[in-house]
Symmetry: C2
Subunit: 449 residues, 2 copies
């Protein structure tokens, strides 16, 4: 199959990046330029983002190159001269990158990534950087909301089958883990990232036996201590009784089956009935796992209704961020050798200059961020952008995934309480512009156009 | 970077596929079984689907294998015995596949893919097949709607930067082309699939010159005959005048610039003003290209308002199918050595048996489909499922992409007129169940549970 890989990913760019680059190359316009990658505005149902995707972005930049196959294709387009194609063959990314750490909370208008490099290099990487950072940030942000809804209960990423392609399934599992999922059903994500993998059984397994109870007993015997029985293939409550029967045949302690899974119907009513069936049989130790088109809203409702659900599987809605399936992420020129750059298109103003983001707190809780110019003095709070790449190389090794998960947990807990609610907020998190930035913006507005 | 590829994609499966497979293996349950891949119900805003993703699914099945690295990881989970891991190393997909052709229209409840194979093989490929076929079908279906909205005008896929990961960007470009996009901005998709690539320029290019007009003239000189100028960086109408000025400096014929692009603001009003500016300068030949968070609804509105837009760029909304970012695609056991299988979970009935889909027409227009049992006589219409794989090998070479595009065009044109409208239909396309299928369903309902 045709896959994206290190050898061809440089071509995963919009054609205009290459035509613009060719023009810059022809005219010797390859001075240093700075681009910001940021989200213009939060989706209606988001109060915060969780930054994610940085490590993949850095890996891409470190290995970025056009090979002979790539330039042969580009030559066939009859748009590019030999000089430029030769240049591409030798080109590497040599710039520097400052970024928000993965797992950090972030807001609209704040650079998630700041790239400073020769203009051509900085331009050519736009498409991939946007794709990579915005998708993983999208999913980590959604996952953080599901985490809030679960109120301490674990949930598993079950999204692989509905994610947008193979790469999405892999990255979504990682981003969901950063965002707070306890595990993933995606075995490849387990192998690649070391994320805990989990799973239950499918309806087809139950259907593959003459009797439901045979399926239950067989599975429990095959995976002792790691058995979650799917009990809704025919009738959920009857399935619960059969799970009890299977457990009683296997062990007098009840430890042979760990959980039962509900995947359809009225999950609240069924969870109550199933809990009663299990408890009556002395199987208090068996937990209830719920799945079936769940998202943070449904989980919140299920728990608010008092359903005795102990853990969740969340698939489609998580892996596609279905209520907000894209972020308005952009990558904008903010400074070049002539100074700060600005764009005034209707409704799409870009903040000029090389910037830092500071986060202020009142101790336990973050209160506001300030977008400021680099070097501007007296801005309250801690800087959020740190240098992660210099001369085209990472300045530090990739942090362990669990550190990113912990950072997200800390950052979300420090959000003002109203932002930890699931529904859209009247009062968003405050992001200020520093005096220096405001002055520059006013000056640039006057100068440009 | 860690990528999905032929060597590791077998692990891109849900853990339960492997635990179930191990259980089947231990108990010698590897008789032939048949699974249907179908969409349970259409999203609210869809009247039809365009089947897509089959060729990637077949490539996956042809090369499906677990290597030593995969089994080493699986061993580390302490869930699987050596016997099973040995079996996995030698396992290949040996089954047969019947499928709807890519580009064909399809509806809820109709198998897009029917897999018949030893139970373990058929089970292990579930996750990837669902991911692959449902995502590409999602995007081809969305693209077909955009095609309808454009009323014959070309549009380009501009989605790469907002698609869900790298693989999504590549496949979305292909699916969008099948669905009717004229081109893609994604250069890798051009290289891999031979899809025409197109592009304009970014705001950063305009900002990289001291004056907007310098940017326009430079680009037009560098790409004569292939220049679309982005005119909204500062002020759109002023940008149009500068485009005229650049064109007049370049050539008296006006042929130096092919189009101008609007990417923000009131596209209807601006297109009218820009058209007037161009026409006044004698540049009737210069077309207007519009982009900026467009989808089929906005395009339809823009054209209904009489905006003189000649072509569109469609990005985020297309590549994420934002108004319906997932399909309820499932993969269900429908028959095994004991006969037809059924699942009765609340609201999720699966049609049992090995099935064919027939499409009836009144000549120019398709009227209804019938889902029937294979071998059932007297069903009206032409069969839509054809055999595409036998013994784990394709039964025919992959058809040219342009054939799939043509098939979609024909199939959409044959839809009843009400289904070619963009808004949800009161009266959906009729999908009947054959007498044989109805009898089997009744019998199976009585027998199971």
């Amino acid at each position: 199959m045709d896959w994206v890989n290190d050898a061809n990913v440089a071509l995963l760019t919009d054609l205009y990046e290459l035509t613009m680059a060719a023009s810059y190359h022809r005219h010797g316009m390859n001075e240093t330029a700075t681009f910001d990658l940021f989200v213009r505005s939060l989706p209606e149902r988001r109060s915060f983002l969780v930054a994610c995707g940085l490590e993949d972005a850095l890996s891409y930049l470190e290995t970025f190159r056009f090979d002979e196959a790539a330039t042969a294709y580009l030559r066939s387009l009859e748009l590019f001269g030999d000089d430029f194609l030769e240049y591409l063959l030798g080109m590497r990314f040599t710039g520097e990158v400052w970024a928000m750490a993965e797992g950090e909370t972030a807001f609209a208008g704040e650079p998630l990534l700041r790239v400073t490099a020769p203009r051509i290099e900085a331009q050519l990487v736009e498409t991939f950087l946007l794709n990579c950072v915005s998708f993983q940030t999208l999913i980590a942000s959604k996952a953080a909301r599901v985490t809030l809804a679960c109120q301490g209960r674990p949930y598993a990423d079950f999204s692989a089958r509905r994610d947008h392609g193979a790469d999405a399934a892999l990255r979504a599992a990682r981003a969901a883990y950063v965002g707070g999922a306890a595990s993933t059903s995606n075995v490849l994500a387990g192998a690649v990232y070391g994320i805990p993998v989990s799973g239950t059984m499918a309806h087809s397994y139950v259907q593959s036996f003459a009797r439901e109870e045979d399926a239950f007993r067989t599975y429990a015997e095959d995976f002792p201590g790691r058995t979650t029985l799917l009990i809704d293939t025919y009738d959920t409550v009857r399935g619960a009784r059969r799970a009890v029967a299977a457990a009683s045949r296997l062990s007098t302690s009840g430890g042979a089956i760990q959980a039962v899974r509900l995947d359809s119907g009225d999950l609240v009513g069924l969870a109550l009935k199933v809990r009663a069936v299990l408890d009556e049989a002395g199987l208090q130790i068996v937990s209830i796992f719920a799945s079936g088109d769940l998202d943070e809203y449904r989980i919140s409702d299920i728990l608010a209704a008092g359903a005795p659900v102990d853990a969740f599987g969340v698939g489609t809605q998580l892996g596609t961020s279905a209520d907000a399936p894209a972020l308005s992420a952009v990558y904008k020129l903010v400074q070049d050798e002539r100074g700060p750059r600005i764009k005034l298109s209707t409704g799409k103003v870009t903040l000029p200059g090389v910037k830092q983001v500071y986060r202020a707190s009142d101790g336990a809780c973050d209160t506001h961020d300030t977008v400021a110019l680099v070097g501007e003095e007296g801005i309250e709070g801690r800087p959020l952008l740190t240098q992660v790449m210099s001369g085209g190389r990472r300045t530090r090794p990739a942090p362990p995934l669990d550190d990113l998960r912990t950072r997200r947990e800390t950052a979300v807990a420090r959000l003002p309480g109203r932002l930890q609610l699931l529904h859209a907020q009247v009062l968003p998190y405050e992001v200020r512009w520093s005096p220096g930035l405001q002055a520059l913006l006013a000056e640039a507005r006057g100068r440009e156009g």
